[in-house]
């Protein structure tokens, strides 16, 4: 069943149309890689195009500037993992730009109403502004600062509206905190991230519990959309069978009517479901690979030096969370994702 499901997923994903969200690479510095939808990792070059489903990974000295449309810029700073994704909200396809780790500055030339949603592991933001910066920290927390325009930051069902020179921090699995005043250029990502990492390592079990909350939230979305997809695909098969029977009986008009009124809408709905569980399962993969792995790496090193706080307790809790990830998320990923 799982194998069949994966084949259907692959076919459905391949059938998805290309989006206008693809972005041109207009400036590069240092080492920058791109992970393609087929799973290949290669160096990114000036003039390349980053497509939906692809992830840009900048090294400690790397910087990439993307142009999603004339006049707009997405500046991906060093040490960042940034993806172009898609999902549907209320039946409408939405572009999502996700920062799993690191910092990204957004400059939109003009507001067209088709701006992407901005996501990090701990929040989603709707753009109503033109200049803002997103930080995604080592512990899965986020910080968003608005320079001009407005941004609505949402997490755990709570929304905070940010005006120019305002910022807000969001802990993984938590609602946004209180917004604060911030002046342009006054906040340094490295210093903020170092503080997040230090706090994370001072209580790794608390940090892991927060990460678990975030992962559970993603897993619930994966399960919901995956479950709806499995139910829908059975209906699609049933309707296809009915249509074939009608066509074989020479009832062409009824077959055509069944297709336009029932089967086609069902197929579109099913494709949206694939889009959504792919979005959430890939978000979970990025979270596991770039945030959870970072905590594990740091804790392993501290374990060798004998300075890790409750290393054995951490290892047990981490292994349990990986088991959960393996059971709830991995069945919805395909070979190329790894």
């Amino acid at each position: 069943m799982k194998k069949q499901l994966l084949l259907l997923i692959t076919a459905a994903v391949l059938a998805l149309p290309l989006s206008a969200q693809n972005s041109d690479v207009v400036y590069l510095e240092g080492w920058v890689d791109v992970k393609t939808g087929s799973g290949d990792i290669s160096e990114l070059f000036m003039g390349d195009q980053v497509r939906v489903g692809e992830t840009v990974i900048t090294g400690d000295d790397g910087l990439a500037e993307l142009q999603p449309e004339a006049g707009s810029r997405i500046i991906i700073h060093p040490g960042t993992v940034f993806s172009l994704q898609e999902r549907t909200v209320n039946g409408q396809k939405r572009s999502v730009v996700s920062t799993s780790l690191g910092s990204v500055a957004f400059r939109f030339n003009k507001m067209t109403g088709a701006e992407p949603d901005i996501a990090t592991p701990s929040m989603v933001a709707g753009v109503r502004g033109t200049e803002f910066t997103v930080f995604a920290g080592a512990d899965g927390s986020s910080l968003i600062m608005v320079e001009s325009g407005a941004v609505a930051v949402e997490s755990q069902g709570r929304s905070v509206d940010l005006a120019p020179n305002e910022g807000v921090e969001v802990q993984p699995g938590e609602a946004p905190g209180e917004k604060f005043r911030v002046m342009r250029g006054s906040l340094d990502f490295s210093a903020w991230n170092a503080n997040r990492a230090e706090e994370m390592l001072s209580d790794p079990l608390l940090a892991l519990a927060r990460m678990e909350k975030q992962l559970v939230e993603l897993a619930e979305q994966v399960q919901e959309w995956g479950g709806r997809y499995e139910a829908n695909i059975k209906l699609v098969e049933q309707k296809r069978g009915e249509m074939k029977t009608l066509a074989e009986a020479g009832k062409e008009d009824q077959a055509r009517s069944l297709f336009t009124e029932e089967l086609r809408p069902l197929e579109v709905e099913t494709s949206d479901m694939v889009l959504n569980y792919r979005y959430y399962s890939l978000s979970a993969l990025n979270f596991r690979r770039h945030v959870m792995s970072g905590l594990y790496t740091r804790m392993k090193a501290l374990g060798f030096s004998g300075t890790a706080v409750d290393f054995e307790g951490f290892r047990g809790a981490y292994a349990a969370l990986l088991d959960y990830y393996e059971e709830m998320i991995v069945p919805y990923l395909v070979a190329a994702d790894f």
Binding site: W31, D33, K35, G39, I41, I57, T58, G59, D60, G62, P78, G79, T80, V81, L101, G102, R289, H290, S293, G294, Y296, T297, R298, K300, A301, L302, F304, S305, T307, L322, E326, V330, L333, A335, F338
Partner: protein, 151 residues
Amino acid sequence: MINKAFLPVALILLFLGSCATVPRAAGEEEVLASLELISGASPETLLASSHDPFLLDGEVLVGKSALSLLWNSLAEAGFGFTNPVITEILPADPSQASLFSSSREVVYFFGNYAAPGSTFVRFRSGEGEFLLLLAPRDKGSRKILGWGGPY
């Protein structure tokens, strides 16, 4: 008309030719050199000597920043292998994935990156028993593909 006396010679040449193109696993000297590198080289050298992606226990580290974090964190922790003794060197194969982790992620890592010519090593040091993976030789050198332990 082929000279029948030439046939065995041709077969031997063909065999030797094919041997030259089959990538070989690392020998003991190469493995020891890699262990010395992990224990003593700078994070920058280790970053340049590491395969990307990289396997650390059950974690697949992707990107230069993740590798930089690994080697810098280990350097700060004063990590190194004390008196390593190699107990096993084998060509890497997918069956060894489960020694690192039972996750599908690691199975795919082996499937994608433990190509012919890559090497699986088991060794013991003052810190315990470890596993090491070396990538196939490329342009005269081998990158570190991953390691796990202590077990």
